[in-house]
């Protein structure tokens, strides 16, 4: 297996590759002190990662275009057609935020706000189980000689660290987002808030569009404050609608033009032929690019396709 495809953050991968370790076998033949020889390097990696604080998506290509993963202190909006994998990505992130600091993760917990009822515990368990297996495998490799460093997490532990809110109306949605300030100050280990989806309750039968715009922008502001105050990642999912633009009907994310300015980063998940792709539509710091990913029994993973990896726009 190549280092480039390991489910660890992109900057760690980059460092390993630049130091010349491109396959797992090359790593496994080393002792930790060899790796630590750039003693600085190994420690720096972990240290810098903590400062940069990105949550991996478990897909190397997706992490790459995101600059290493989902960023804390920012709101990332992710939209796509039904069935493309938004909820899958949400569950994957809720699990990945819990990857221990020793393995390059944040060791945090997740808040999952479900407005549509799409969160299926059976699937969360599948993803948690696969994640634990990946962590054990990676840990074994890193700590080859110090086997006493075990990964103590079990899939049920991962499920226990996901705080699940089921929201059934737009009022409850406003309420939970306001309440999160108090909740997170009491649960400071929460490092990601996922809203799946932000659209649903605002799309059904909302007569007063001016009110809708006001409520949505108020909500976007609160989420941004939450992200900055508590140094966590906020990921919100949006649905898709059709819009008449440039002479034809096209797909666009829902909730209108004023909403489209509200989020810092905007990622669109779409079908490109037979593959799922993600496109960075808007970001102050990331370059516009698209990358393939896939949804497997284990969760979000690299695409198995042989096509050229990342396409820069």
């Amino acid at each position: 297996m190549e280092v480039g495809r390991l489910p660890i953050s992109a900057s760690q991968r980059g460092k390993l590759i630049r130091a010349g370790y491109t396959t797992l076998s090359s790593l496994s033949s080393l002792s930790p002190s060899d790796l630590a020889r750039g003693a600085q390097t190994a420690w720096d990696m972990l240290h810098e990662e903590q400062l940069l604080r990105r949550i991996t998506t478990s897909c190397a290509d997706l992490d790459n275009i995101l600059g290493g993963g989902i960023n804390c202190k920012e709101v990332t909006e992710i939209g796509g057609v039904p069935g493309i994998g938004k909820t899958q990505l949400g569950i994957q992130l809720a699990v990945n935020v819990q990857i221990p600091v020793d393995l390059g993760g944040l060791g945090g917990k997740a808040v999952y706000i479900d407005t549509e009822g799409s969160f299926m515990v059976e699937r969360a368990l599948q993803i948690a189980e696969a994640s634990v297996l990946d962590m054990v495998e990676y840990n074994d490799l890193l700590r080859k000689e110090h086997r006493k460093c075990q990964v103590n997490l079990k899939p049920n532990d991962l499920l226990e660290s996901i705080y699940y809110f089921r929201i059934c109306s737009y009022t409850e949605q406003m309420a939970v987002i306001s309440y999160l300030d108090k909740f997170i100050s009491a649960h400071k280990d929460v490092k990601i808030v996922i809203v799946d989806s932000v659209t649903f309750h605002f799309r059904q039968d909302f007569e007063d569009l001016a009110l809708r715009t006001r409520l949505l922008s108020g909500m976007a502001l609160k989420l941004m404050n939450l992200a900055k105050t508590y140094n966590l990642a906020v990921v919100i999912f949006n649905q898709v609608t059709t819009k008449y633009m440039e002479g034809s009907f096209q797909l666009a994310l829902a909730l209108g033009d004023s909403w489209s300015h509200s989020c810092t980063n905007r990622v669109i998940l779409y079908w490109n032929g037979d593959d799922r792709y993600a496109f960075i539509d808007k970001s102050p710091s990331l370059r516009s690019a698209s990358a393939p990913f896939s949804v497997t029994g284990k969760g979000i993973r690299n695409s198995a396709s042989n096509h050229k990896r990342i396409k820069l726009m």
Binding site: V111, R123, Y164
Partner: protein, 374 residues
């Protein structure tokens, strides 16, 4: 939660009075205004407004659960971990047990493919005692196009579970658990939904079937945005019914040809491709993309080269599998329990090649898998 009264929230008396004076009585009304608007309306300082809103939000917010607690609750309290087994082994495995409780499952496909057959079988399964894999409960079947046939359903029962149905009085009892409603207009349909809400609280209703959702409004109104807008309230309501009573709700949807009005690419895709995507005519699910977002599980029933398939087009917990099936005297049966995994967007396409069967509900038109009439 949205209707919680402000006066019962334990706010400081002065604040509670101010809200009442401005006629803001429920959480919904208070949260519909921004902090600033409330400050102006109530004529109090920002600090008081913020703390009042924080309190109101905390009360109006539903309680949380850890995902672990959610899972344990489902396994302990609900039959089959919160699923209605369909009796189709491959499908049940892919769905981690069967049709899930608490969410909408959609069956979409061309006319005569077997959606109603499947619904009737599910209704029967839900009414069966738990010892036979059922939910031992009542079923409410909203039959918009008058396709439900009790005779066919009893036939399915007798063929699938002969030992129960040949017992005296059993057929009558099982059939007696299924209530069929036939609303003739959108407003009558709305009434039916509200009746269902009442029934859910009082009786042991374990499954609601709506056959078909498309027919509900196709008679009254035109296509496009107006249709989607009409469904808006209904979709939310039906989803909340499923959620609160933790029952499966199965909805059927029809198909139509894709029109030129459909977008299928984003603006960044349009820019980068040189040749415009040709609109080859194929079938799509009716009711639009907004509806497609609202259902949790979408099962596509289609026919390719004369063979019928049931596909898991949208499911948060299953791979994109397609199972070949036939309609038999015992309902639907899969020809292969392993299914074929489809790549990419193929799982969403709906085909109707070589499909011309129309099922006759008097039993005369039904044939077994070898084509012999039964």
């Amino acid at each position: 939660m949205a209707d919680k009264l402000i006066k019962e929230m334990g706010l400081p008396k002065s604040m509670a009075n101010v809200f009442a004076a401005r006629n803001i009585t429920t959480a919904q009304e208070a949260l519909a205004l921004t902090d600033f608007e409330l400050m102006l309306l109530l004529d109090v300082g920002m600090a008081e407004v913020s703390s009042a809103l924080a309190r109101i939000s905390e009360i109006a917010c539903p309680p949380y659960q850890t995902a672990l607690a959610l899972m344990e609750q489902r396994i302990q309290k609900e039959g089959h971990g919160g699923h209605l087994p369909t009796g189709l082994k491959g499908l049940d495995e892919a769905l981690c047990g069967g049709i899930p409780f608490g969410v909408l499952t959609e069956l979409v496909g061309p006319a005569g493919i077997g959606k109603t057959q499947f619904c009737m079988k599910l209704s029967l399964l839900a009414s069966l005692p738990t010892a036979y894999g059922g939910l031992n409960g009542r079923v409410i079947y909203i039959d918009v196009e008058s396709k439900f046939s009790s005779r066919r359903m009893i036939e399915i029962g007798v063929q699938s579970f002969p030992d129960i149905f040949n017992m005296k009085g059993m057929a009558q009892e099982m059939a007696g658990r299924i209530l069929v409603l036939r609303p003739t207009s959108l407003s009558k349909f709305t009434e039916s939904l509200q009746q269902i809400q009442v029934a859910l609280r009082q009786q042991q209703v374990k499954l609601v079937v709506i056959d078909s959702m498309t027919a509900v409004i196709s008679g009254d109104y035109g296509q496009g945005a107006s249709r989607q807008h009409l469904l808006g309230w209904h979709v939310s309501f039906i989803k909340s019914l499923a959620e609160f009573s933790r029952i499966p709700i199965v909805v059927t949807n029809q198909v139509r040809s894709q029109t030129r009005d459909e977008g299928c690419q984003y603006s960044f895709q349009v820019r980068s491709t040189e040749d415009p995507v040709g609109y080859d005519s194929h079938l799509v699910a009716a009711l639009g993309i907004n509806w497609a977002h609202s259902v949790t599980i979408r099962l596509v029933l289609e026919a390719k080269s004369g063979q019928r398939f049931i596909k898991l087009a949208k499911s948060p917990m299953s791979p994109p599998l397609a199972f070949p099936f036939n309609i038999t005297a015992a309902g639907i049966s899969l020809l292969d329990d392993y299914g074929r995994e489809l790549k990419g967007a193929e799982i969403n396409k709906i085909h109707s090649h070589g499909h011309s069967d129309v099922i006759n509900f008097d039993g005369k038109g039904c044939s077994d898998q070898w084509g012999k009439p039964t």
